[in-house]
Amino acid sequence: MLSIIKLRLLRLKEDAMVFVVMTAMALGFTAIFGASFDSYKPTILIVDQDGSYYSQYLINELRQNKGYNFKDADLKTASEEVEEGSAVALVIRQGFQESIENGSDISLGMMKIKDDTVTLTIQELASSIVLKMAGSIRTADVTADFIKEAKPGTDIQAVKTAAYENVMDSWKYKTPMSVTSEAANTGARSDNNNLMHSMIGFTVFFSMYTMVFSIGTILSDKQYKTWERMLVSPLSRTSILGGTMVVSYLTGAVQMGVLLLCGKYLLKIDWGNSMSGILLVSAAFVFSVTSLGLMLSGFIKTQGQLGTLTPIVLTSTSMLGGCMWPLEIVTNKALLFLAELTPQKWAIQGIKSIASGGMGFRAAILPSAVLLVMGIIYFTIGVKFLNKNNA
């Protein structure tokens, strides 16, 4: 096996450019896409039909969220822009203040073409603000009633307004409740940003090319007829495949490592608190993809065919697996099911849950196990086909 490892390392020099190009592409695409996505803010049009104190308060609270571009609009303009697909609109209907004061059902309208993460997030955001406002109004009412009984003749409306504003103001500085969870104990931050997703996605995507082409040297052995010559030597097939796998694995692992380090030091990405977890997922992912490359090499005969097949397989599975965009925005169940079958999905899930989800080492265990199982299946099929082709 050592002879094979030495040979593969010697021949690796020929593929050094693939390694460099794929690493540079991953970093370049991350920088471009990460920056592009970060500067993009969905436009939310606010149609205020109530024009009240409370509706204005709701709008001001919404504007505190810097992830969206809020604009005032009338109903006609809003419906036109929503139809064009350039924005979604939140409609604060007439009677909003009355409903919130009376404690009756509050209806906020949403103008949208489809449900997506933007509309769902805005609905959640608006609902939580309205609930907070309703709670504060109830608190102000109780306070005013108490003062009215204790000190008759007080200006009740002034007390209510002052109480409401004080309560609302207090939300800004105090945490009304604390939630303790295991994830919180890791101490990791929880800001999900696009730069990080791009980094993980493109690291996974481009490193796969290097790994698959590296294991594809078996096909060049067949092309040069050295494969058969090796088979009539005392070397076992296990040694030949094992040696090749070791070098391909090391190549993939080094590239993943380089990309993780570049992400950290060049793009200032915080990989979270469990680097061991990220390394575990990466190690399992490299094994899985190396085995996938072995399987592809078993199906075909030349490196030219591998060069044609690889982009098709890797690009399609990477799209399904969430390398290009977060799977959170995918709602189609069939696509989500197919994503489960790709190693990319599990690698991204494992790394992302640690790096941006604030989770610890345990979050790496399931994705790593799935990747290992996938790798074993690919490896078994690959070895079977390679042996069959030389029976």
Binding site: L2, S3, I4, K6, L7, L10, R11, E14, Y224, K225, T226, E228, R229, M230, L231, V232, S233, P234, L235, N390, A391
Partner: protein, 309 residues
């Protein structure tokens, strides 16, 4: 040393090898001769454990190579028909790799690479990349890669295909030298002259079967009556033809454009009788040319078709 017993190999409905048997003795250069598609390479692949036969067995030093492939692999050197080298590596790196897979390491490997480079005549170019070699140099390195571990049995599958005369001559001399050093060789070719030059014993294969086997002399005996003598005299009429046909040992005589072709079995005796009879008649011999039967004639005689060169 090696016994092939009733070997069969089918690829689907195609019968590549059909029940062939032969024995290679230690120290021989054994030839497998036949046209492309005769089944030579398939036979070689089975002997070298690359393919499993559909039937029959191959015994190396009494052990079945099918049951125990390792028994032959360490003692076997294979020179494949195709150049099986890494073109982007140097000749030295190639030899180093092929030596290392047979367990050679360190100074032992280095010494063997130097020895083999010397044998194949590539000393001065061994540090060059193989892709810069000529066809003949690649062929020689292809042979060298099979010699590093000092094999007891060397299988050479058409090692001179597509190279210039000089390289071919070098390779043939190398084969004889290796045999003199004690290596038993199985040599396949569709070049008659190579097999005639190198081999002590041979099999002629066609369409998966052995159609003749034995020493070169034994095979030529199969067509001994095919000795041909072309003679041109100062007189070339029917009388001459009649006289020549009357010589004992002449099987047939016919007139070509400007000479007479005589066929018989023993060239030396026949030649003496012809010259004697012509002298008696007072005719003058302008040219005389003797063509003894060769393997090409044997193959033609046995199959009714010519071997492609």
């Amino acid at each position: 040393m090696l016994k092939v017993e009733n070997l069969y190999k089918n690829f689907g409905n195609v019968k590549a090898v059909e029940g062939i048997s032969f024995e290679v003795k230690k120290g021989q250069v054994f030839g497998l001769l036949g046209p492309n598609g005769a089944g030579k390479s398939t036979t070689i692949s089975i002997i070298s454990t690359l393919l499993k036969p559909s039937g029959g067995d191959v015994l190396f030093e009494g052990n079945s190579v099918l049951d125990n492939p390792a028994s032959i692999r360490r003692k076997l050197g294979v020179v494949p028909q195709d150049i099986a080298l890494y073109p982007t590596l140097t000749g030295y790196d190639n030899l180093s790799f092929w030596g290392s897979i047979y367990g050679l390491r360190g100074s032992q490997l280095k010494t063997r690479i130097e020895d083999v480079s010397d044998i194949i005549g590539l000393n001065g170019r061994i540090k060059d990349k193989v892709e810069k070699y000529s066809g003949g140099m690649k062929r020689r390195l292809n042979i060298g890669a099979a010699l590093l571990h000092k094999p007891e049995l060397l299988i050479m599958d058409e090692p001179t295909v597509g190279i210039d005369t000089q390289s071919r001559s070098h390779i043939l001399d190398t084969v004889l030298e290796l045999n003199r050093q004690g290596i038993t060789i199985i040599y396949t070719s569709h070049y008659m002259d190579e097999v005639e030059y190198l081999c002590n014993e041979l099999c002629i294969m066609d369409e998966g079967k052995i159609i003749a086997s034995g020493t070169r002399q034994e095979l030529v005996e199969l067509v001994r009556e095919k000795t041909r003598i072309n003679i041109k005299l100062n007189k070339m009429d029917e009388d001459v033809l009649t006289v020549l046909r009357g010589i004992e040992g002449v099987v047939d005589a016919k007139k070509d454009e400007d000479s007479i072709a005589l066929f018989g079995s023993n060239a030396d005796v026949l030649l003496a009788d012809i010259i004697s009879r012509v002298s008696e008649k007072g005719w003058l011999i302008e040219t005389i040319d003797v063509k003894k039967p060769n393997l090409k004639a044997v193959f033609l005689h046995l199959t009714g078709k010519a071997l492609r060169d």
